[in-house]
Amino acid sequence: MTPDAENLEDLRDRLRVLEKENELLAERAEDISMLGLVAEQTGTSSDPRELLGAVLERVCILKAIPYGACLEPNGSFLRVTSAYHVRRSEEASTDDFQLRDPALWPPRKTVALDPEECGRLFKRIAIEGQGPAPIAVALVPLRTSEQPGACLLFADDGRTSEELASLLPLLERVADLTQARLDNLSLIARLQRLNMNLDLDVAERTESLRRSEARYRILFDHVPDGVLLVDADAEGSFGRIEDANEAAAVMHGYSLEELQELHIEALTAPGPGSRLDSFEARIWRLRPGETVQEEVLHRRKDGSTFPVEAIGTLINLHGRQYVLGFSRDITERKEAEQAMLMTQRTESVGVLAGGIAHDFNNLLTAIMGQTSIAMDRMDEQTPGRENLWKALNAAEKAATLTQQMLAYSGRGKFTIQSVSINWLIQENLQFLAAAITKHVSFKLDLDERIPPVTGDPSQLQQVIMNLVINGAEAIGNAPGTITIRTRDVCVEQADPTQWPLSGQSLAPGAFVQVEVVDTGCGMSPEVRSRIFDPFFSTKAKGHGLGLSAVLGIIRGHGGGLAVDSVLGAGTTFRILLPAGFPDLSSKETVSPGTPRTARRTVLVIDDEDYMLEVVHDTLATRGHESLLAQSGEQGIEMLSLCRDRIDMVLLDLTMPGLGGVETFHRLRTVAPKVPVVLSSGFAEEEATAQMMGMDLAGFLQKPYLVSELIRVVESLPTSSRQE
């Protein structure tokens, strides 16, 4: 060979070597690219079946292997979970693999088998679309956690087993990547299942909790009283309002959201009387199951306060301590209690006033009687007679005062008849105008349609007069106005808070409302609460009985009374009088005295000796005889003994021991026909009501004038002496 030929041959050899190396490098690059594609697939696939299919395709295409599959053991058969055949369409395959000995599966390591070795392992290999049996088979164990028996199989009909064996390291790398991803996917699936179960569990518990919460919320929100859950976990002190119901929010003037942001102190009224400290102290001393109950003063959002009945107890909720409190607004109850107390006080004072008036009337009777007798025994010019006359006038004025007191106590003199209030006001307008100063003007707003009322016209006149005078005094020397207004109203249900001074007397029905409104100085709440107390007056010279009498008269008429006043602005008195057309009969007043008649013998029964004296002395001036008894028993005994002599009995109604009524009954058994004249410090209506059904010959209201006594005694016929 020539040197040139040798060089050329050498160059050809080098070229062949370079081509071979180039081919190997290209193959190596392809392997790396293939691994890259497999890694990309294993990094993105989330479905195991799709992952296996993609991996098998990549290996088969890029390494020109016609068939690849993933097999899992199923007894002596191998189940094809995924397969790729380069020349087969994408339809479900019927590839079939059967082992001779299942114990030999899976192979312990990656292996390439020739046909003989395949025959020893597989009883049958049937690959759809494949003609003769493959020349070489590579088995690459997958060893996933879910399927430790899984294995990749690659069948090649173009390579020998030795040629296929050169691919085993690459196939092992592919299997490693695939197995890692499959394990991840099964772990993810397991976590997702757990998560789903957890989600279901959470959903179920959440729903159960929601239902429980909803139930709790319904109960909580529908409790009519305010409910507060107050944090009490910080030792020794109350804290934030953790929860509250709608009733608590409304009660305090907050929205629910606002209330749940507050500290409990925001709801309690500051200063003495709130009793929160007492409440709190008692809470901390509670034992489990105990509660504390207190009346405390709470504060609304607008700053106003109101009384609350609070009940509290300590509870433990989710490891934290709370105060569970119930609060009830007792404003109405307190107002009703106040009204009742005022009524009871009024009634007590009324009873007292009535009792005092009654005794006072007796004494006045004696004073007036003896003074009259003394004056009768004097000539007109006798020195001292004028003084006696002044004393008698004073006693009569005292009698007027006692009438006011009796009126306040509801036991004044009554003459029941139908009264037109509008007519009463208009008829007495001049008297009303005369009772007030010129600075004060009148306004009348009288509804013509109002019905008449049932009552005593003079008593009602006294009411109007007293209220007008009171209003004028409140206006004082400044210009002002007194307005009198009448309306008809229908009261369906008497509200004691609206008519606090009515006591038990206000029944539903038709009424006439009278308002007396002044533009005077008004009253403070303290003064307003006492104006109807007898003898209470804000004026230096006032005797304090005017408004008391008003109250007594209105209650005696079964009406209602209320007063509203603003200090510095004026006062409004509101009166309700029952409308109606009673069966009226007016009682006769005392008629004038009669001329001297035949001598009478009068049995006088009265527990007061001064009354006995004055009656005796008075009758004696007229030549009448009096038999005096200081008790009912004594009187009955006297009547029994002197029945034939006695022309009439003058019986005091109110006596200790055997009272006037019982004495009357017993007198009637002794002398059924003896005339009995009742004498009492109370009004005739009340007195004779007690003697209902009994035949009385007359009535003398104390204090009575001597002339009235003489008239009653001498008006009886002499033939009335008992047999």
Partner: protein, 275 residues
């Protein structure tokens, strides 16, 4: 532009998809490997002004069926397309083939000379163009590269870019056309089956027939085609009597992307009836 929906016709048990546009003498456009009827989209309007243009998807490509049993070799495609033209009722037609389509054009022309009025081979395969024997096709580097391209769009894009002179025209829209068949396993298998089916003998067997053909031939080559040697086109021009060779500069293997208007001009001129 091609119509949105392709028409389909059943040929030998499988459907072939095609786009048809225009009026006049029929012109059949046939693509090559890695493409389908989309490759003609920039030419069809210009050709349809004067001709009844049919752009067909070969079996296993585009919207046509993709069975793996039939052969996808040049001879098989040629016979299948004869049946296709008969099914459409086409009379004699002009055949314009690119790449493998150019090889099919040669085979049909020599085997069915009465059917083809004109034959155009654009960057076409010829003679012993294919560097491998079928049996070991899958293991040869060129095919493995193509196989890689079916799995990796990046690799595919390299193939396309090497085949286009004006690289800026390799847009995402163009790659979407190329990549569409590779998005299914079926499409990938069909592509590999196409590569595996190629056999030089389908064209080497007709060398003598080419020398005797009387059908007018136009041979067009992109001077920057890196996939097919210039010698292929030059030898065709030498062997085919009366053939005309046009070499276009600044044009790669996918000359339809680089010089569509020039192609339309050349084709219309070639296909114009003689006065």
């Amino acid at each position: 532009m091609l119509q949105a929906d392709a028409q389909r016709v059943r040929i030998q048990g499988h459907h072939l998809a095609y786009h048809r546009q225009g009026h006049g003498s029929p012109v059949l456009l046939v693509h090559g490997i890695t493409t389908y009827s989309f490759i003609w989209r920039n030419l069809i309007d210009g050709l349809a002004r004067h001709h009844d243009v049919i752009a067909v998807d070969l079996l296993g490509c585009g919207d046509s069926d993709m069975p793996l049993d039939p052969s996808y070799g040049v001879a098989a495609h040629a016979e299948r397309l004869v049946a296709f033209t008969q099914a459409l009722g086409l009379g004699p037609f002009a055949f314009v083939g690119h790449d493998i389509g150019g090889g099919i054009a040669q085979r049909i022309t020599v085997k069915h000379p009465d059917l083809v009025t004109h034959a155009v081979v654009i960057n076409g395969v010829a003679f012993d163009y294919w560097p491998v024997q079928p049996i070991i096709t899958m293991r040869t580097p060129i095919v493995r590269q193509m196989a890689m391209a079916t799995l990796d769009m990046g690799a595919f894009k390299l193939i396309v870019q090497r085949g286009v002179f004006h690289k800026e025209r390799v847009t995402p829209e163009l790659m979407a056309y190329f990549w569409k068949p590779m998005q299914t396993r079926e499409g990938r298998k069909a592509f590999l089956h196409f590569a595996e089916s190629l056999d030089n003998r389908d064209l080497t067997d007709i060398t003598d027939d080419l020398r005797r053909t009387k059908t007018p031939f136009l041979i067009i080559r992109g001077m920057d085609d890196v996939y097919l040697r210039a010698e292929n086109s030059h030898r065709l021009h030498r062997e085919i009597p009366g053939s005309r060779l046009v070499e276009i500069a600044e044009a790669g293997h996918f000359i339809q992307e680089d010089q569509p208007d020039r192609l339309v001009e050349e084709l219309n001129a070639f296909l114009r009836p003689n006065p």
